[in-house]
Each structure stands twice: as structure tokens, then as C-alpha cells.
């Protein structure tokens, strides 16, 4: 039975290493900052996930010790990866992206980065709209 677990753990580690490598290679290979963002947010997730699952199986099978720490790491990655990607994308949109290449949002507004004083909470939007009305008068 030990052999089975060892093979399983090794396979997961190899998969994890492979996806980590692909994620890093993507950073070098892809042509511009926006496409480069795709490689670490995705390929790396499965890479880290596979390593964490391997760790859980290792401790459960060889140390008779149920560790669920790893679930927490996964949870925190899922929470933080999209947020940091979002910030990087926003910064990049302001610095490098040609606005004419972007698609427009529905309705009259523009994307929040290009709108000063933008906030999506309803009351503050009303306040901004009122302030603009006052200025127009």
C-alpha cells in the first residue's frame, strides 16, 4: 500500500512542478502585460493545488496525522489571486493600454479607472451625479 501512496504523491508533485514551470514560462513567452497576467493566475493555481494535495496525502498516509492546513492555503490563494490580478490589470490599463482598443461598457458610462470619483455604491453615485448637475448649471 505504501508504494501506491508514494506513486500518487510523486505524480501529484510532478504535476505541480509542471504547472508551476508552465506558469513561469508563460510569463517569459507571452507578448504583452495583459496576456502575461493569465499565466500566473491560472497555471500556478493548479501547480500549488497539486503540491498541497500531495502534502495532505503524505501526512495522512505516512504520519497518521490529518492536516487540513493546506485547505486554508488554497482558500487564501483563491481569495487573493483574483484581487492582485485585478489591481495589476487596472494599473496596466492606466499606463499602457490604448483606450480605443477597449470595448465599451453597456450604457453611457465608462470603465471605473477612467472615471474620476467613481464608486459603485448607490448613494455615492447619486451624490456624484448631483454634484455634476450643480456644476453644469
Amino acid at each position: 500500500m505504501d508504494l501506491f501512496w508514494e506513486i500518487l504523491i510523486s505524480a501529484l508533485l510532478v504535476i505541480g512542478g509542471f504547472f508551476g514551470l508552465v506558469g513561469s514560462f508563460g510569463l517569459v513567452k507571452l507578448p504583452d502585460p495583459m496576456t502575461r497576467l493569465h499565466a500566473p493566475t491560472k497555471a500556478a493555481t493548479l501547480g500549488v493545488g497539486a503540491v498541497l494535495i500531495a502534502s495532505m496525502i503524505y501526512f495522512a498516509a505516512f504520519h497518521d496525522d490529518l492536516t487540513l492546513h493546506e485547505l486554508m492555503i488554497t482558500l487564501f490563494i483563491f481569495l487573493t489571486a483574483p484581487i492582485s490580478a485585478h489591481f495589476l490589470a487596472k494599473a496596466n490599463m492606466l499606463r499602457n493600454v490604448d483606450r480605443s482598443t477597449l470595448t465599451k461598457p453597456e450604457g453611457d458610462g465608462d470603465w471605473a479607472v477612467f472615471t474620476p470619483l467613481s464608486d459603485t455604491s448607490a448613494e455615492e453615485l447619486d451624490e456624484v451625479a448631483e454634484a455634476e448637475d450643480d456644476e453644469a448649471r
Binding site: 508552465v22 492546513h69 485585478h86 461598457p105
Partner: protein, 163 residues
């Protein structure tokens, strides 16, 4: 009375479980401390979430999580394939506008996070009026198809959960 001391029972439970997992010791000691944190933190942070949505559709949440995990695995393989096998000049990156039917900020946040974690798409920006998301696709020969898939696969399910 109960509402005063337990303003957010789900958060209390979640914090206790997270504490137990972080401490990695399943003893009365850490359970008591976890519960203590689970009681104090929601009470202190209550002013910051004045009108949080009420979620009742628990099977919907479980279904959503399962679908997202499956899609994350698929998306990892898809992105790895694109990185390794599609030459840069054949790559078709595209910007897509996804009009939103969701209104709760919490639901939009979950949708944006999901889009970032799933096949070849990344949420770049929210419209100033909060009614559209700007999504960047790594390789999308058919941008409209991407938009329809996001709306059909994730947004419809989130709508069932949050509304």
C-alpha cells in the same frame, strides 16, 4: 437579543473553523479560542456590512463551488496548452464587455473572482456605474461566445444564489 451578540452566525462558524484549521490542533483549547474570535470579530466589524445579502440557497452554493473547481482544473490545462503550443502571432487576445444582471456588490465580486480563475479569462475592470465587467481573454477567436458562456454558466447560478 441574540442578534446583538451574534450578528452574523455564519461568519462566527467560519472564523471558528478557520482558526481550528490554522492552529492545526483539534483541542478544546483552540476551539474555545476560535469561538472567542468568532464572537468578537463579527461584533467589531458589524458596522462595515450594513446591508449584506441573505443567502438561503445552500445546494446552489455547493453546486457553484463544484463547477468552479472543475473549471479551474480545465482552465489550467487549457492555459498550459495555449502557453506551450500556440505561437504568439496566432494568439488572439480580446477585450469583452460582460453586461451584468447582478446588483449586489458581493455577487459581482464573486463573479469577477470566478472569471479570473477560469478558462483563459481575466476580470480587468468594472464599469463606473457597476453594470458591466471588462474581461480580458487570452485566446478568444469568438469573443461573443465567451460572454454568453460567462452569463449562462456563472451569472445565472449566482443570481439563483443571491436573489
Amino acid at each position: 437579543m441574540l442578534k446583538r451578540f451574534l450578528p452574523h452566525p455564519h461568519l462566527t462558524l467560519l472564523l471558528t473553523v478557520v482558526w481550528l484549521l490554522l492552529a492545526n490542533a483539534y483541542t478544546i483549547n483552540s476551539l474555545v479560542f476560535g469561538l472567542l474570535m468568532g464572537l468578537v470579530i463579527p461584533w467589531i466589524t458589524a458596522p462595515y456590512w450594513p446591508d449584506r445579502p441573505v443567502i438561503r440557497n445552500v445546494p446552489g452554493i455547493i453546486e457553484y463551488i463544484a463547477i468552479v473547481i472543475w473549471d479551474i482544473i480545465k482552465s489550467n490545462i487549457a492555459v498550459a496548452k495555449i502557453v506551450l503550443f500556440v505561437p504568439n502571432d496566432k494568439l488572439r487576445p480580446a477585450w469583452v464587455t460582460v453586461p451584468l444582471d447582478l446588483h449586489e456588490p458581493e455577487a459581482i465580486t464573486v463573479l469577477a473572482g470566478t472569471i479570473t480563475m477560469t478558462p483563459g479569462t481575466l476580470t480587468a475592470e468594472l464599469a463606473a456605474d457597476g453594470h458591466s465587467l471588462l474581461v480580458h481573454c487570452l485566446h478568444a477567436p469568438d469573443p461573443d461566445g465567451v460572454r454568453d458562456e460567462i452569463k449562462e454558466r456563472y451569472e445565472r447560478r449566482l443570481k439563483e444564489i443571491f436573489e
